[in-house]
Symmetry: C2
Subunit: 208 residues, 2 copies
DNA sequence: GTCTATATCGGGATAGAC
DNA sequence: GTCTATCCCGATATAGAC
């Protein structure tokens, strides 16, 4: 019992590491087994095949991300406070686990229909999150732009540089240490950028 | 001669399609051969192995992207005009070839050292582009924030939603037609957002 | 240059003993 | 539950004829 729980946990941790870093096609069952300290046969004993293990890993990753977003944006605060917390949390979290988002995006790109089911099985209601953001945009900032655009703007500013980290480093020849500084700087930069960007959407803004 | 050129072209087109959509690990030499209307042996005659063919495809894709960016941002216009053109161009181009950026990002994530060489062999000078943006930010808008942050902000707002398209569609249950509308809307939305976001960086801005 | 045939190997999956 | 041994297919790559 105790042993089986241990094994299960070890498998999931190993699978997570390998799938997150190498994706479905790049991952090897052998590598997962090695990392978990067991052999392939036992891996198949717990998860009939690679697909099912992958789905489990995807489900965990997606759930973790989505839950945290829900937690932040459905809480009781002003929208700008939520955005500030979101930016700080994700720039901390993601820069340590940059591969997670890329993993989710790639997984969904490779097998959209299959994983859509996985997503729907969770009891998240992302529409609620949008409604809440829309409501706060209207009431607190007099903005009635589609909240999805705003949400995507925020995500883009925070998430894209993490995804593109290797690209940015290669193009501009930036060493790792400087990238750490870069991400730390972004907390302030992005917050300011969003705060001001939103002003353009205010109903009575002369620029619109 | 004529025939060989034709074959070479067919191979590159086929390889591009397959690699862009499925990445290195997901791509099959057989599929590329089929798509090019030849067989595997001939494929290996032109490109000794999968790696070399992949590098060629990566080089082409990266070069195409980088050149277009250079062309836009090194031209003779105001920075805001460039940004407007960039947004329109990329939201048109990328929404038709969404996989290209994802392909580049994934490739660079999988084999950063190997592809860094490929990038350096091209005669692009990305630092020049940053310098130019920095100069225009200072002279035209009185902003002396690191131009890399601004550049990344712009890219994030434009590129991220394309990368995350399947994610967005799955989460919020958005059909394809509505996504087309969404991307069309973003041209205006993002332009406004950036224009106003930049105001926060002006030296004499009371908010900073 | 282009083909058919084949070598070779790696990786997912299963059988069956303990 | 955990292991060893093995099956079997798919994929890259090469040999060699035309």
């Amino acid at each position: 019992m105790d042993n089986s729980q241990n094994t299960e946990v070890k498998i999931l941790e190993a699978a997570r590491d390998v799938f997150h870093h190498k994706g479905f096609n790049g991952a090897r069952m052998q590598e997962i087994a090695d990392l978990a300290g067991i052999n392939k046969a036992l891996l198949h004993y717990y998860y009939r095949n690679k697909e099912s293990l992958f789905e489990r890993v995807f489900n965990d990753a997606f759930s973790q991300m989505a839950c945290k977003m829900n937690e932040i944006f459905l809480s009781e605060m002003t929208l700008m406070s939520k955005i500030g917390i979101f930016i700080n949390f994700y720039l901390n979290f993601i820069s340590r686990h940059s591969y997670v988002v890329q993993f989710i995006i790639n997984a969904l790109h490779d097998k959209p229909e299959q994983l859509r089911e996985v997503i729907l099985k969770q009891n998240l209601v992302p529409e609620l999150l949008l409604k809440q953001i829309g409501k706060q945009l209207r009431e607190e900032m007099d903005i009635d732009t589609d909240p999805l655009h705003i949400y995507v703007n925020i995500l883009g500013l925070v998430v894209f540089p993490v995804l593109a980290k290797p690209l940015i480093q290669s193009m501009f020849q930036i060493p790792d240490e400087k990238m750490d500084v870069f991400f730390e700087q972004r907390k302030k930069i992005v917050t300011t950028f969003i705060a001001n960007g939103l002003k353009g959407y205010e109903k009575n803004n002369s620029l619109v």
